[in-house]
């Protein structure tokens, strides 16, 4: 069973692995990008223009079999992942081979087929928590402008209602709202917070827009200034602090605030700030089978098609060593949420602050299976 206790037990081993190269460990946190195709035209993303020789399902089957029951957290990304025609089967393969604790899927909420696909995934992966995060970058027309699709907000509301209805029947389904804080949206984050608060969604998470090789946004002016981001995110932190959380939500809410503070520090200090574990604990498999340590750098660590679909051949091979050296030497820094949350789990000062916060507020009184607004935020993607 791939449990959170099992994840925590692996933290000291990953710390050893990063420092000494031993014991060899497969990643806990894996992002699968089966296709870059997307029906959004976001100002913050150019991935939708790309076309790839995509891995077939039988190829994904071999790749996922090679991972065994090591990944705890899968993100199925894109493009628009719920537009990928085999997304249900891909999630089922991940479940069958890896039994992850969490399968996380962001969506632009456009297609009417989304609720059916979500239901099929949730029902066929009963031991995994399925987190569906609906992208929302503005309320009303502001959303449509940023996402480049007239009528997108209306579809978002329709899909949110449908998924919240489904959630009542599916105990392993979490429905969240995810906002990208970019130069285009930083000025109306308050509106987004207020909207999310009354939406009925289980969680509201944000990620700063940052350039990525994956999205072909290197050099584009999409990231808000440190000053604008700080002003906006401090209000979100105040909002989260004003809420009462219990159980697991209390932990994830505290971790989320740590993430927002970490982003502020990264923007300010232009440094990794805490050790990055991308390439040790987290990784991404791109549509054509290329393995990356993360989507920001997108170093080509090798293509699974050239390694008999055996992830271990690439992960424990020679090419990755130089990339790990570069990351450990802090030749890069970024606020990528997906990697940052795993990084924070491996950072003792962060965990100490989170623990202190939990103790200050007293012990959890109960443990809801699905925490409501404000909890888990790890591993979102901004597309």
């Amino acid at each position: 069973m791939n449990s959170i206790a099992n994840v925590l037990a692996r933290i000291p081993l990953f710390k050893l692995y990063r420092r000494f190269g031993w014991p060899k460990m497969l990643p806990l946190n894996l992002t699968l990008s089966p296709s870059p195709k997307c029906n959004s035209r976001c100002l913050t993303c150019n991935i939708w223009m790309k076309r790839e020789d995509e891995l077939r399902l039988d190829e994904w089957d071999k790749v996922l079999a090679s991972l065994g029951r090591t990944p705890y957290w899968f993100t199925i990304s894109g493009g628009e992942p719920l537009m990928y025609p085999h997304v249900v089967e891909l999630a089922q393969l991940a479940y069958q081979h890896c039994r992850p604790g969490v399968i996380n899927i962001p969506t632009n909420a456009i297609l009417p087929t989304i609720p059916d696909r979500v239901e099929r995934i949730a029902r066929s992966c009963p031991e995994s928590q399925l987190i569906i995060n609906l992208s929302l970058d503005g309320v009303g027309e502001k959303h449509d402008v940023i996402r480049g699709i007239p009528g997108n907000f209306k579809k978002f509301e329709e899909r949110l209602g449908q998924l919240l209805s489904l959630r009542r029947q599916l105990p392993n389904l979490t429905v969240g709202i995810h906002s990208v804080v970019s130069v285009f949206s930083v000025g109306h984050l308050d509106e987004l917070i207020a909207y999310a608060d009354q939406s009925g969604a289980d969680q509201f998470i944000t990620e700063i827009a940052e350039p990525r090789v994956e999205l072909d946004t290197v050099g584009l002016p999409i990231t808000p200034s440190a000053e604008d981001y700080t002003k906006a995110i401090d209000r979100l932190i105040a909002y989260v602090n004003s809420k009462q959380f219990t159980g697991m939500a209390k932990f994830t809410e505290a971790l989320r605030i740590e993430y927002y503070k970490l982003v502020k520090r990264i923007l300010d200090e232009k440094d990794q700030v805490i050790d990055c574990y991308a390439g040790w604990v987290s990784a991404q498999i791109y549509a054509d089978g290329t393995v990356w340590p993360c989507c920001v750098r997108a170093d080509n660590l090798g293509n699974l098609r050239n390694h008999d679909y055996d992830f271990k051949e690439i992960w424990f091979g020679e090419k990755i060593k130089e990339v790990r050296r570069s990351i450990a030497a802090k030749e890069c820094h970024c606020p990528l949420a997906n990697a940052s949350y795993t990084n924070m789990l491996h950072d003792i000062p962060t965990l100490t602050r989170v623990s202190a916060k939990l103790l200050r507020r007293g012990s959890p009184s109960h443990h809801p299976a699905v925490p409501r607004l404000g909890p888990i935020a790890a591993n979102d993607v901004h597309k």
Partner: protein, 96 residues
């Protein structure tokens, strides 16, 4: 700037053999599908070859007409540090 390292990193990345074809095809599709891409610029490396140095600085090309990188006879081959950058309508400050 916070992400200056990424710009340099991207320039230093070894190029795939089909870098020009694939990147320009993506931009052509982007323009055809009426995304916010307005064209493409070539951003030369600091140590670029003479031919790259002679390219008109900041010229915005239609993806179908942009020079293919690496330029012919570039001595650095796939290690050529020149890159394409999409020009977005919201980022465009002048018309060329």
């Amino acid at each position: 700037m916070t992400f200056d390292w990424l710009d340099k990193f991207h320039h230093d990345m070894e190029k795939e053999p089909n870098y020009a074809e694939k990147t320009l095809a993506a931009y052509r599709l982007g323009m055809k599908a009426k995304g916010s891409i307005a064209g493409v610029v070539v951003q030369p490396a600091t140590n670029c070859c003479d031919a790259a140095r002679l390219l008109p600085a900041g010229k915005v090309y239609h993806p179908g007409e942009a020079p293919h990188l690496p330029l012919p006879d570039c001595p650095q081959g796939r290690r050529c540090g020149c890159v394409y950058r999409p020009v977005m309508t919201y980022a465009r400050t002048d018309e060329r």
